[in-house]
């Protein structure tokens, strides 16, 4: 057991800050309501350090207090991509020794999503933040279909090119539009009986591995992940799959 609390300036003092808006006028009752919310979150010594009217019926609060809850980090498990990342050269060598052909990665930003910078960062020659994209990898054929690609098109292109890996980028997440779209793609793969034919990986600013697993994908990558992270996971997963078959 190693219980801890948030840290202000003394170990386990539990200091915490919050800010939020209430659909109430900015007055004493608003402030009291803000405090009551903090109490319900397990915060004590609540102090509303700032309150401000945003409009007639809306007010904004900044709150400090002491969190009474404690957490034992050692009791938690994390869903993370477990494979260790290899360098570009190591990945190229791995493909060379473990596969008798080049691997095909096909990717797109799907649904109504028009954001391409994320998928381009992973797939295009140039890469991102000094890390080359998959297109530059020896033994990888990278096909980037761009944005606003519907699920059906992505699948038919993947089949046409006999892809090994499908990469999907989702950036717009308002009202869970990405969840709907990603769920629909997995359902499509299952309906066509091809789910096991591909390693399917998702990515985007609000995507993580846990979410990917929950939705039925093989892996998920968020910010600060690059082509080598994705390719490392994919080549190992493909090799695993080959052994099983």
């Amino acid at each position: 057991m190693a219980l801890i609390r948030p840290y202000g300036d003394t170990l386990n003092d539990g200091k915490i800050q919050l800010s939020f808006t209430l659909p109430l006028p900015c007055d004493a009752l608003g402030e009291e309501t803000a405090k009551a919310f903090a109490h319900k979150m397990g915060i004590e010594n609540v102090s509303v350090v700032h309150s401000e009217a945003l409009s007639e019926g809306y007010s904004y609060y900044i709150v400090y207090g002491t969190l009474t809850h404690q957490v034992d980090p050692t009791s938690l498990t994390v869903t993370e991509v477990e494979t260790t990342a290899m360098s570009k050269e190591a990945i190229e060598a791995y493909i060379d020794t473990h596969f008798d052909r080049d691997l095909v990665f096909i990717g797109a930003s799907t649904g109504t999503d028009a954001h391409t910078v994320g998928i381009d960062a992973i797939m295009n020659m140039k890469g991102y933040s000094g890390h080359y994209g998959l297109e530059r990898y020896k033994h990888i054929k990278a096909i980037n279909l761009g944005s606003q690609v519907d699920n059906e098109t992505l699948l038919s292109e993947a089949l046409k090119h006999q892809a090994d890996v499908i990469l999907i980028s989702q950036t717009v997440t308002q009202k869970d539009v990405h969840i709907q779209n990603l769920t629909a793609f997995i359902e499509l793969l299952e309906a066509e009986n091809v789910r096991d034919d591909f390693i399917v990986i998702i990515g985007g600013a609000r995507i993580n591995h846990a979410l990917a697993k929950e939705l039925g994908y093989d892996a998920g990558f968020g910010p600060k992940k690059f082509a080598f992270d994705v390719a490392s996971f994919a080549v190992l997963a493909l090799h695993e799959k080959k052994k099983v078959n």
């Binding site: 945003l54 391409t116 997440t173 009202k175």
Partner: protein, 519 residues
């Protein structure tokens, strides 16, 4: 704060841009699109949808396309049908929808546009009334520049109204309702009040009306006119411009190239559509906001600054060719240099001053940092503060406020309020800063501005030689390449028959020419 620039280079850039645009005017003149035709129908007074939610203007254009020859233009058929049936365009549309009337028999008759004039005039009268109302409102408006611009994007028009009212009370001058993802690729305009959108709210005429009504009420309460913005872009660009003119929007996002580059809309389609939409906005006194700032979201802002400037010159000429006054040209640029770069603020200041120097009478639209905003909202506030300083010091006109949560979600009410407070503070603190300092002639900033200008000139030289289509194909803007033979909406482009008429644009241009004040 004035830059020392080579004025001959600036003039040469304009000449290049004019060559680039003139080169496309013939193509634009020779063609029309389904959305242009639907716009004509809207301006003839046709509104509403059928039982399947298909707008009557789409029903009509599809009917002509399927059963007759659309290259003669919808006006041909409407003129003949109005004369023959004595019905209004609206009644004709409804009959066609009910299959109780066909336009096929009118395909080869002689027509006279005069029968349509009363309908056109009645729409123009409504637009002119809106212009007069705007002018009355504006008289009471303090003209402190820049104007604070914020966006609302809840997906639900009624929630948007709450957010917009709150922003106006906090000092916003301009409210933009962002559209839902995917609307730009719809080849029809949705109808009625809507409550379900993703990352934005549907642009519908009823949503425009509801928001304008709410903002008029706030404008009265606050004693200053709050402007409303939407997007005349995507596959329905000119239709939305027309809806905006009718409902008194004050600004429209409207770019000649954005749809091509960022939405993969066919370039012919976009160029033809943007022309008509700009004529409409010019007539309705609607300020356009162009979108070259977006190039810096896919390209590096330091290395590609000149592409933005080159595109501003091109957008300026496209607008001028549509008879738009300079005072309506909200040319876009942005504060997007990587904050990790040394002297990034100096380069940003140089770029902002450069735009202002070159387009002194255009109400420039200045975009905040977006690409390099992260989940660190506290740092984000500082990035926005620096941007605000650049905006005030160089006296930008349309000041899009940055949101501390830019990397996370579309703005919460509190995000907007914090942004407005931040800007208000900096306006005060830096009020006369720009007027009080000078650029060193051989200093970092003046040199940077000169470099960007000469790079823009070189790029414009290349474009005027190779033509804009080739430029787009080569991906010189935003590093995204597009082919003239591909892209969405190409099937909606057609060559006009020799007898083709667009009586609406003829009237608009005639009246604009009478009051032409450009340069």
């Amino acid at each position: 704060m004035k830059l020392t620039l080579n004025e001959d280079t600036i003039r040469a850039c304009r000449t290049d841009a004019k060559t680039i645009v003139d080169d496309l005017i013939t193509m634009i003149d020779k063609h029309s699109t389904v959305s242009v035709e639907r716009t004509i129908l809207r301006l003839l007074g046709i509104d509403g949808v059928n039982d399947f939610d298909i707008p009557f203007v789409n029903v009509l254009v599809d009917h002509i396309n399927d059963h007759a020859d659309l290259s003669k233009g919808v006006s041909h058929y409407l003129a003949a049908a109005v004369k023959d049936t004595k019905l209004s365009p609206q009644a004709i549309a409804e009959k066609i929808n009910a299959s109780t009337l066909s336009l096929k028999p009118y395909q080869d008759v002689e027509t006279d546009m005069a029968v349509l004039m009363p309908y056109i005039e009645s729409t123009l009268e409504a637009i002119n009334k809106q212009k007069a109302t705007r002018q009355t409102f504006m008289q009471s408006r303090q003209t402190d520049q820049p104007e604070k611009y914020v966006i609302v994007a809840t997906g639900n028009i009624y929630e948007d109204i709450e957010q917009a009212k709150s922003a106006a009370k906090k000092g916003a001058d301009i409210i933009a309702v962002i559209r839902t993802t995917g609307q730009s690729l719809l080849d029809y305009v949705p109808y009625g009040a809507t409550t379900e959108g993703f990352g934005g709210t549907y642009a519908t005429q009823e949503n425009f009306r509801l928001m304008r009504e709410a903002l008029d009420a706030v404008s009265k309460e606050e004693g200053r006119y709050i402007k409303l913005v939407n997007y005349a872009s995507g596959l329905c660009m000119p239709e939305i411009a027309a809806m905006g003119a009718i409902e008194r929007l004050d600004m429209m996002l409207n770019d000649s190239l954005y749809g091509i580059i960022f939405r993969d809309i066919n370039m012919k389609r976009t160029l033809i559509d943007q022309y008509f939409s700009r004529v409409i906005s010019a007539y309705a006194d609607i300020t356009i906001n162009t979108g070259e700032d977006n190039y810096l979201t896919t390209s590096d802002a330091f290395d590609h600054a000149h592409t933005v400037l080159a595109s501003q010159f091109i957008n300026e000429q496209f607008a001028a060719s549509a008879h738009m006054k300079e005072s309506l040209m909200g040319l876009g640029h942005a504060y997007e240099i990587d904050p990790d770069m040394e002297n990034s603020f100096l380069y940003e200041l140089a770029q902002a001053a450069l735009s202002k120097h070159i387009f002194p009478r255009a109400p420039l639209k200045y975009m905040p940092p977006t690409k390099h905003m992260t989940g660190d909202i506290f740092k984000g506030t500082i990035q926005n503060a620096l941007f605000n300083i650049a905006a005030v010091s160089t006296n930008q006109s349309i000041h899009l406020l940055g949101m501390l949560t830019e990397a996370i979600h579309t703005p919460f009410m509190s995000d907007r309020a914090l942004a407005l407070d931040n800007a208000t503070y900096i306006y005060k603190a830096f009020k006369d800063f720009g007027a009080d300092i000078e650029f060193k002639e051989d200093g970092l900033m003046n040199t940077r501005a000169q470099d960007v200008l000469s790079n823009a000139k070189a790029l414009l030289d290349t474009i005027s030689e190779e033509g804009l289509f080739t430029t787009l194909e080569k991906g010189r803007f935003a590093e995204i390449s597009r082919s003239p033979h591909l892209g969405k909406g190409l099937d909606g482009v057609f060559e006009k028959a020799p007898s083709y008429k667009n009586p609406v644009i003829d009237v608009l241009i005639k009246q604009l020419k009478e009051g032409d004040t450009w340069l």
